[in-house]
Amino acid sequence: MRRVHYEKGIGSVVSTVVASLPMSLSIGVGGNGAILFIDGRIEWANRLADAIRAGYEAAIVVAPAELDERELAVIPDDFPVALDWRFASNPALDEIDVQTSGGLIEVTAYVPLARQSEVTSLELRLLIRRLFDADILFRGAVGPGGRRSLEASGSRTVLSRVIPTDACPSALEISWVGREGRSTLRIPNPSTAQPASVLTTDAAFDRSPSTMYENSHRATARRLLRALDDATPLADLKLLRRVVRAPQ
């Protein structure tokens, strides 16, 4: 059982995570040996550095905001940090093979107007870097609040966009069309444990594998606990540094 402490503003997230992992986590006092949940929506890197100095064992950053290389420099590489992205931390992304061989990949985040800032282009860039590798062809703001990029690398093209709207529930879609077929992975509202869905269509069939009823927050906590139990490093910061360092 590990002790958990959290920053103001993310109490409901933490209590639902702890309620879903009651034999592994309990809410208690902060400081030495505890896991700190950090509200990532604003300037989280300095507070994470403070937490390390305060003796926390590990940290989870919930919904990390955009930051630059200089801000990231205050965090040491070897401290166990799990970044809890709204969509990119969904367990379906680890369970399902979304690697593709050429063609077009589209990454679309539908985000409510009031919560636009919680899905950053950094999250989409990180997701794309993790799942695919592509160079930038065009990146820019198109439309109000729109953050879009068109990237191409060899035989693969990635088109990503954040679409602010109150018309539909928050969701992320990753679609691929290639030579042999196409597939779509849809991650529903990240505040819930609705399972992601995947539909792959080839020359003969539609296929839809099982996914998991687990939201990003719980999956992130499980990932951190597994790393701590096994004493294996987490790659979150390393990948983030790579993405932040890449040319915009």
């Binding site: 063609g103 077009l104 879009r148 709207t165 109150d166 030579r179 196409r182 069939f205």
Partner: protein
């Protein structure tokens, strides 16, 4: 039946055989095919024989046939303006021209002049503009506020599969192999693909985002297709085409505002599988378009029948068709230039 409108086809290729003849077969209380012309006399004979029509290999013969009330121009696109002009000057009741209307603005404007002069209505076969799903969807547009995102996503299996499900094709034109190694060939490919495929949706997109498009990025995608990122005023527009081996077409048009999301899923080309499906999603819930047994092809033919039987002209229709062509050409040319620049 005395009221039937006689149709003459100029060109008897796949569009005539797999699209229009099956569509007209379902409208046999309105139309009857009277004449099929093709420069290949064997094809003209074979196709005309299926519907009990006369066959010829010259447009003059077809236009001299008194049984022809409506001319369907299904010849190669470079001949469209000349064939429309010939039909209009022959005094037919209406012309249906397969897309595109012409290959340049000048040609399109000349066609518009001839239409004004002769009073013969011309309809361009942009089937999605007539699809009941889009007709329903466009009513929703007014209530959704400013559209800030538009996406046309067209994923198509090979045409031949759908042609074969629609009919038995006489003398199929073999597909050309593509060598896209050279930048100029890549630019030509994207221009042709915009003109050949996205052309169906660009008139609809122009309704959603009427200001001229500025292409920001364009690239070819494997195995055959493209992605274009553009903006019109402050509306982001994405145009995607992929032709691959998956069995199920995915032809969607999505428009999003702060408060509404409109999604139109079109039925595949060639087959007569009824209308597309449209939905409008907002905070209040989701509304869906009613299904119709008629697809865009049938509806465009019914529109032609309506025009052929009316005596009043439809002012503005040609201006709109010319503007659609301008819009399409601007996208195709800008995308071609982008691809050339990216290839440097």
């Amino acid at each position: 039946m005395a009221d039937l409108l006689g149709v003459g086809f100029v060109g008897a290729g796949a569009a005539t055989q797999a699209i229009h003849l099956p569509a007209l077969a379902a409208l046999n209380e309105t139309f009857t095919v009277r004449h099929v012309m093709d420069v290949d006399a064997d094809t003209a004979d074979a196709v005309a024989g299926r519907v009990g029509a006369c066959a010829s290999s010259s447009i003059e013969s077809l236009l001299e046939d008194p049984a022809v009330d409506v001319v369907a121009v299904c010849s190669p696109p470079r001949f469209h303006p000349a064939h429309i002009e010939a039909a209009c000057r022959a005094g037919v009741k209406a012309v249906l021209c397969e897309k595109p209307l012409a290959l340049s603005t000048e040609e399109a404007q000349k066609v518009a002049e001839i239409v004004r002069e002769t009073g013969v209505p011309v309809v361009v076969g942009a089937m999605h503009a007539f699809d009941p799903a889009w007709v329903w969807a466009r009513k929703m547009v007014a209530g959704m506020g400013r559209v800030h995102s538009v996406r046309s996503r067209i994923v198509l299996p090979p045409n031949a599969r759908f042609e074969d499900m629609a009919t038995e094709i006489a003398k199929r034109t073999p597909g050309r192999s593509r060598n896209l190694a050279e930048p100029a060939a890549r630019a030509a490919f994207i221009e042709a693909a915009v003109f050949g495929v996205t052309v169906h949706d660009l008139p609809l997109i122009r309704e959603l985002a009427p200001k001229p498009l500025r292409v920001l990025g364009a690239t070819l995608i494997e195995p055959a297709g493209f992605a274009i990122l553009a903006e019109s005023d402050d509306t982001a527009i994405e145009l995607i085409v992929s032709m691959n081996e998956n069995w199920k077409p995915d032809w969607t048009l999505e428009a999003i505002s702060d408060t509404g999301r409109l999604l139109v899923e079109f039925a595949p080309s060639f087959v007569q599988s009824g209308s597309g499906k449209a939905s409008y999603e907002s905070k209040d819930g989701v509304m869906q378009s009613p299904p119709s047994v008629h697809n865009g092809y049938a509806m465009e033919w019914l529109h032609v029948a309506d025009l052929a039987r009316r005596t009043d002209a439809r002012p503005g229709a040609m201006e709109s068709l010319v503007a659609d062509l301008d819009y399409t050409m601007a996208v195709a040319e800008a995308a071609g230039r982008r691809v050339l620049e990216e290839s440097k």
